[in-house]
Subunit: 556 residues, 2 copies
């Protein structure tokens, strides 16, 4: 298992693992090559109940070291699997797709190389986290915001972009806000995409396409190279931001709301990525599963669920999004939104800095009463959403991963939250659907029947990832300490995945455990990807199995 034996023989004799790690230590420093049992154990931990133990961990300091480590791995016939900060929660965390690979941990490469305040972009390395960039921009008093996700402040921008993740702001379609990648190829060569390979280029991080074939997409959701740097566009601070929330009482009410919002997304009134979550998404943000109320199963009893909805003041679904612009532009958008939702069950409530201040004051006046506590919780949530809209990440949105964890959310939460190390059980299915109410209901109902059968509550978020498509994020949250529940969770995930796939709702992103399911037909797209991979990485050194269904299936 320690070396890949089924690959074509390269010239010369392969190094032993020990010799290869020794050579890598000479490149990165002995302190940054770890092959002890505890480290390998720690990096094997995953919210999937599937420990994928690496051979070793190597932590390079820069792209040059990455290139030299990759060259050594090539000679040694070892596979290396790059991670940025290893926080790909629920999709594989810090694990490789298959065991026996060397994890290339890029978290030491955390330099913010350059920020251009005038043209609003940053050049960053893979270790740069949401918190780090946000703090940097504020410390430098730059009037720029970076898009945030709810995955927590310590997650990597580049890691998320490589997975084609999305955030919440007008820059939430992250891949559209990237220009100029630096990539280490399996050959050890350093590639600059866009115009960057011309050293003198002045628009290297301003115009992604460059001249000639546009390669950036090739390095996302792939194992074609290791992205060691990229240009990420930043949002100029808006004069005015309003968050809006809109809840509908019954399940079926959400379809007309989606259809009413579609024209506003299409015409640019709603430029940010809207998220629509069900009640479970809201509950799981505020605490863990109340085991005492349902000791037998993993589901909330329906009566309790209804009571919790009433207590939280929400309905079956809640739409959450933000408006950006001048005061006049935001006012015009508010008017358009109110008008569009007329005739649906949704009434938008707008959260502004002013309303948050008023809410906080009222909560203080109400004190330790029930309404006071509830209002305080609402204001705190509003403040977190509002901060995220304005480029300040918040760890609280990670709470959902802890829903079924024994002991619930740790006392220190959200500081140092790490669902993989904290033994949370979490799997996602992420189908993409047309931006239509009917499709949303169809996807939800299809998932619901499997979740019911396997005895899990369905956590669902639907995000308007662009103007025409919705990314569904369906979460199986389970108790990892219960082997029976873990097995059911995996079976539930697989059934939902396959049902969605067959129904034409293909995932935008998959977990390591599911990559083997992506090419049931052996189709020409995957053959083409395979041909490109063979050309760029003939020995299969880089991340075998990552978005490489044929190889991944062997690892399953």
């Amino acid at each position: 298992m320690s070396q890949l034996n089924d690959l074509p023989q390269a010239a010369g004799v392969a190094l032993t693992l020990e010799a290869a790690l020794g050579e890598m230590a000479a490149v990165v420093g002995a302190a940054h090559v770890l092959a002890d049992a505890a480290t390998r154990e720690r990096y094997a931990r995953s919210t999937a109940s599937r420990a994928v133990r690496p051979l070793a961990l190597v932590r390079p300091a820069d792209a040059g070291e990455v290139a030299r480590v990759v060259a050594i791995a090539g000679r040694a016939r070892l596979a290396v699997y790059p991670i940025s900060t290893g926080k790909n929660w629920g999709y594989g965390d810090a694990c490789a797709v298959g065991a026996g690979q060397v994890i290339l941990d890029l978290s030491r490469m955390n330099r913010i190389i350059h920020v251009d305040p005038e043209l609003a972009y940053a050049v960053i390395e893979p270790g740069v986290t949401q918190r780090q960039l946000s703090d940097y921009l504020r410390a430098q008093r730059l009037p720029l915001w970076a898009d945030c996700t709810g995955a927590g402040p310590d997650t990597s921008y580049i890691g998320n972009i490589m997975e084609r993740g999305f955030g919440h702001s007008p820059y939430g379609n992250r891949l559209q806000h990237v220009a100029g990648m630096q990539v280490v190829l399996a050959s050890g060569e350093l590639l600059e995409t866009g115009f960057g390979h011309y050293r003198q280029a002045r628009a290297a991080h301003l115009f992604p396409y460059g001249v000639g074939p546009f390669l950036d997409g090739l390095f996302t959701q792939s194992n074609m190279g290791i992205v060691t740097r990229l240009g990420i566009w930043l949002m100029p601070q808006a004069e005015c931001v309003n968050h809006f929330l809109c809840s509908v009482p019954r399940h079926a009410d959400i379809a007309p709301v989606v259809d009413a919002l579609r024209p506003l997304r299409l015409d640019g009134t709603l430029r940010s990525i809207l998220h629509i979550g069900n009640d479970m998404r809201v509950f799981s943000g505020a605490g863990a599963f109340p085991r005492e109320a349902a000791p037998q199963g993993a589901c909330l009893p329906e009566a309790l669920r209804a009571r919790m909805r009433a207590q939280a003041g929400i309905g079956a679904w809640t739409v959450s999004g933000a408006l950006y612009g001048s005061h006049a532009q935001v006012a015009a958008a508010r008017t358009a939104l109110r008008k569009a939702l007329r005739g649906t069950a949704g009434r938008p409530a707008f959260v502004s800095q002013r309303s948050l201040r008023a809410g906080a004051l009222a909560a203080r006046l109400l004190g330790e009463t029930g309404p006071g506590r509830r209002l305080r919780a609402k204001v705190a949530l509003g403040e977190s959403l509002f901060a995220m809209n304005r480029g300040v990440p918040d760890g609280r949105f990670l709470a959902g991963a802890y829903w079924r964890r024994r002991g619930g959310v740790p006392a220190s939460f959200p500081a140092n939250a790490n669902p993989a190390q904290d033994n949370c059980g979490l799997l996602w299915v992420s189908p993409v659907l047309p931006l239509r109410g009917a499709d949303m209901l169809a996807v939800y109902d299809l998932a619901q029947s499997s979740f019911d059968q396997y005895g899990f509550d369905l956590f669902a978020t639907f995000s308007m990832i662009n103007e025409r498509a919705v990314g569904g994020v369906l979460r199986v949250v389970y108790d990892k300490d219960d082997p029976n529940e873990a097995a059911r969770a995996r079976a539930c995930h697989d059934e939902v995945f396959d049902n969605m796939f067959e129904a034409g709702y293909i995932p935008y992103r998959v977990g390591n455990h599911a990559m083997g399911r992506l090419d049931p037909q052996g189709d020409s797209y995957w053959r083409t990807v395979g041909a490109i991979k063979a050309a760029l990485d003939p020995a299969g050194t880089l991340a075998p199995g990552r978005y490489q269904p044929g190889v991944a299936a062997v690892f399953m």
Copy 2:
């Protein structure tokens, strides 16, 4: 020259050209394989003074025929060069990069496969023109607009997108509004990108990335495959459109205007692609070079140029763009624009449907007076711009190509305008620069010195192709019937190209005659592109030399 001899031998014996064309005729029908001298001559015509004669012309009817023709070419060791409608004016027109290739003319493939009015997209073939899609949408009374360029109504959408062209509307960054390509590979295999390779996928044309490596970019500005179909997003008709024009008197006045507009482009107030043209761009839209006034040279005398500016009521530079949205949104944008330009030499004038009607009425009242004629010309220009903003292409913007043509603009213009067949002389240099006034002046001044030296007027447009970059389009317009002037034009082009390149202003797109200049250093980007090409098209069947500098240099 008729067959490529320097390629690795494929198995079996190569077909003769005659036998290969015979086999192709069996696929597409004998009427659609043309190898007569007149056809080859016609397809060799180019606005560059560089006739590139094809071996033959083959006109397939669908992707299946394309695949079979490519397979025959592969066996015959012939190169095929796909064109959509062959109207790549100034960049190679209908010509291959090198002589001796078979032109694969896709203009018969002109089906609008599907339009989805709700999710606002169309699925089209390469032969679909701007006029055709525009007419179709209006005939079907669909409230959708397609982005337009000024290259004329009979140009292909797919052809332009493959060159990464840009238009004028909020959808002007065209590659960002494409989802799901069908591609014929050199192997003859049919590839669907995005989700489309899963037959059951419901978001094939709604979410470009699909799952796994995102390949679309690889097929633009490349010779990796032949795109035979794609999904193009359409713009929902806006309640309100205002065109705005803003002229500044002196050359240097434009820099502060650019810097004042940048924040509005960055913050989303200006969602469409703004174009900034110099006075020559305006003059050349209204008529040909006045030879009688300057019989000796190709330049306008400065006094005449100043008089023409005064007559046209313009200054050195004119900014042109459009605002889209609800009435309230457009009003807010107008206010923001006026405010931003305060303190610069620019005062925006807004053109609305109402102002155009008023202008037309006033022009009628003024009758055949001087002011009446001038107003009528302005109203006609405004109407054309306004129509283009609203998805109706206009041939008049092609007039500039005829500036130095003997005989000027043909009487039938703009009907059937074809600068290549009409013997226009036209070459472009298209550097990308940071969206900054100083860079715009630097690029202009750098170009001006070469244009002065070679005795040409500099036609310049600077387009805000995204929120951070400007695409400069510098035009050498020359008299193709004057061999001396044609040689000077080519020398001028080459010098400007090289100077821009060295100064870090790399082109976003290049003409066939310049593709050999793209890789002066033999850098890793082009080596990577070469490795992918070798994997996908080992025999070099598809469009050799197209964005393939090493091969193109051999053809020069």
